[in-house]
């Protein structure tokens, strides 16, 4: 059934692509329309479900040197509670004495409860051709359990406020060979890069629309991509050096964007081109 669904999606996508090719000579607006149709066709079946299913198995299975599951892992809503947890992350965790996003918290549980070394828990944060990432699958599962839940990221603890303020500053930090900051591409309404629409992440509406649709299955990459990946790849294109997985800056920027998305219903894992 799943396969049929994918074939149907593939055919629709192909048809949309052919349509795009045929209208290339026509006005710009119609090319954008056809790409919108292609994106709509993609919504029909989302392979992110495969990552969600694998992540659920990983969440429930005993793992690591201590052979325990994530049942004792507290994502902020109590040990083992997954439902709605992602909609309230990042947040400050007393036991770790730091603000953590989901990926950082998963690594924390793998180290403190399952007995992995820090290095092993941090291994393979992003999948690639021929390599599967357990973190991506776990993220797919946990985030899927917040679908439809309103974003409600807390800003009560002093450290949460600090992370938000730092993320806000980092968002406009210019650097690199090209003088780019996050705001270069994501600081104005109605802009696009080539034909890709760019959300204005400095507005509530823009942050809500963008943040609630990550993680996402990227059709062009055949991979489920997490928010840590999204930040990492933005900085690559900014010509910055490589953002370290679960680094303090990555958490601060996530806090800034997630908090700005408060009030919107979370709607991921999504599917994107």
């Amino acid at each position: 059934m799943q396969a049929t669904k994918f074939r149907r999606t593939g055919r629709a996508a192909l048809a949309a692509c052919a349509a795009v090719a045929m209208t290339a000579a026509l006005a710009q607006v119609s090319a954008v329309d056809e790409i919108a149709k292609y994106r709509a066709a993609l919504q029909d079946g989302n392979p992110a479900e495969l990552w969600e299913a694998r992540g659920e198995d990983l969440w429930k299975a005993p793992r690591g040197p201590k052979n325990v599951s994530f049942a004792t892992c507290d994502l902020g809503q109590g040990p083992g509670v997954v439902k709605g947890a992602y909609a309230q992350l990042p947040r400050y965790f007393t036991d770790a004495d730091r603000v953590m996003d989901l990926e950082t918290r998963l690594v924390h549980c793998m180290v403190t409860q399952q007995g992995y070394s820090q290095a092993d828990a941090m291994k393979g944060p992003f999948g690639g051709p021929g390599t599967k990432s357990d973190i991506e699958a776990l993220v797919a599962y946990v985030t899927s359990q917040s679908r439809g839940v309103k974003m409600n990221v807390p800003l009560a603890h002093a450290r949460e406020k600090e992370a938000y303020a730092l993320g806000e500053k980092m968002f406009v930090y210019r650097g690199g060979t090209h003088d780019f900051s996050c705001a270069t591409c994501h600081g104005e309404d109605g802009k696009r890069i080539r034909l890709q629409d760019l959300p204005n992440l400095m507005t509530v509406a823009g942050a809500q629309k963008a943040y609630t649709t990550w993680p996402a299955y990227r059709v062009s990459q055949g991979e489920l991509r997490t928010f840590q990946w999204r930040l990492n790849d933005c900085f690559r294109q900014q010509r910055f050096p490589e953002l370290i997985f679960t680094s303090e800056a990555s958490i601060a920027l996530t806090m800034y964007l997630a908090r700005n998305a408060n009030g919107a219903a979370f709607d991921a894992p999504a599917i994107k081109r």
């Binding site: 290339a24 710009q28 090319a31 303020a165 730092l166 500053k169 980092m170 406009v172 930090y173 210019r174 650097g175 690199g176 060979t177 090209h178 003088d179 780019f180 900051s181 705001a183 270069t184 591409c185 104005e188 109605g190 802009k191 696009r192 890069i193 080539r194 034909l195 890709q196 760019l198 900085f235 690559r236 294109q237 010509r239 910055f240 050096p241 490589e242 953002l243 370290i244 680094s247 303090e248 800056a249 990555s250 601060a252």
Partner: protein, 208 residues
């Protein structure tokens, strides 16, 4: 550079003294902390070293005023600083080959850590600008450059403006979104000339 560091050290000390035990951190403190946290959150990869996080005067000022109106005197200072850095061609010729210019405008690779350091480096102009009417996949972060010289005139002034703007956009508009392609050694002098040709040659499709 050293003077600049000293000055900021003093500002920091002064800000810390003023804030003292107040609960709210000053804006300057948060900015300094953000810069420090950024530096500990990246690793060098390929051609992208950690020095890419070090800001020059222009980047520092544009970051400082990112969320507030840029004061006129600061804008003028940035433009003056960047105007002085433009290296005009020794032979006085601004215009190269528009066909090469079109390739450079299309090329998005270059300077990313994922790019081959020996591979092509482009301007990626279409990411942000409309240029030739044949290319429908163009971005809108920058203005349309279609009919650039047809509208401005096929003159030395137009060519000089195009060359200077591509070399260092901040010389004309402080804190522009546009990279300083010549100044920051992204493109070579010849590549800048070829892009000038794409914009100003009467035979270029941009001017059709």
């Amino acid at each position: 550079m050293r003077k600049h560091f000293l000055l900021w050290g003093c500002v920091g000390v002064f800000a810390a003294a003023v804030v003292g035990c107040a609960t709210a951190q000053s804006d300057v403190d948060v900015s300094r902390q953000a810069a420090a946290v950024l530096k500990s959150s990246f690793k060098a990869n390929g051609q992208a070293g950690l020095d890419r996080l070090d800001q020059d005067e222009t980047q520092r000022l544009c970051t400082q005023y990112a969320n507030k109106p840029l004061p006129k005197d600061v804008a003028e200072m940035i433009e003056k600083l960047n105007t002085a850095s433009i290296k005009w061609p020794a032979d006085g010729k601004m215009q190269g080959d528009w066909k090469n210019g079109e390739k450079i405008a299309q090329e998005g690779r270059g300077k990313q850590y994922s790019d081959d350091p020996k591979g092509p480096v482009g301007g990626n102009c279409y990411a942000c600008h409309q240029l030739t009417p044949q290319e429908v996949s163009y971005g809108t972060i920058g203005p349309s450059l279609y009919q650039f010289a047809k509208l401005r005139g096929y003159s030395d002034e137009t060519r000089k403006y195009a060359y200077g703007k591509i070399w260092n956009a901040d010389a004309y508009s402080a804190c522009s979104n546009m990279p300083r392609f010549g100044h920051s050694q992204i493109l070579t002098e010849q590549q800048v000339k070829d892009l000038v040709a794409l914009l100003t040659d009467p035979d270029s499709p941009v001017n059709k």
